[in-house]
Amino acid sequence: MAHQRAVHDMGGLEAGSVDAAGHDHAPWEKKIDAIRNLLSQQNYFGVDELRRAIEALGPGVYDDLSYYERWTAAVTRLLQEKGVITTDELGRMMALVEREWQEARKS
């Protein structure tokens, strides 16, 4: 029987080279870091829950997203699970932000 290895649990697998060069973080990356910190301080969820939600992204999505994109997806999922935001609120806000962004690009 083939056992399912979780996507993040990659010890011993070929992974290519590691880019150890330092790099700056984009403003949105600092923002999601701060939001995650604040939510944990307010006891909405802990680091184990964040990791569980990141690992549950699954192969493909997990591999395609950057580090803080994974955080953003996982934080969103946890806030939905805990009823802090509704899926409808999220969908409307995402549409609004996208509309504003498109208009800002035009002007």
Binding site: H3, G11, D48, E49, R52
Partner: protein
Amino acid sequence: MTSQFGEGDSVQVRLAFPPGHIRTPFYARGKPGVVESYVGNFSNPEELAFGHKDGAKLPLYRVRFRQLDLWPDYQGPEHDSAVLDLYEHWLEPLRAKS
């Protein structure tokens, strides 16, 4: 909860593959090792991962493994080893090889 294992005990990591948030690395499952030390009792991250904060604190151990046992194709010296932090429910007494 009192700790079941002590320093120097030969143990084996349980061969189990539950879904969820697991801190026991895939590569160590089913592998033999020796308890280096008992670290203390800590909340189970497998349950914390689902927001269950009220569970019992479980014994955590540092367990030393021979690299040769962890990696079948290991090329380094026989005495090379690695130490992993593992919770008691992932360990069982080492069974004698039949």
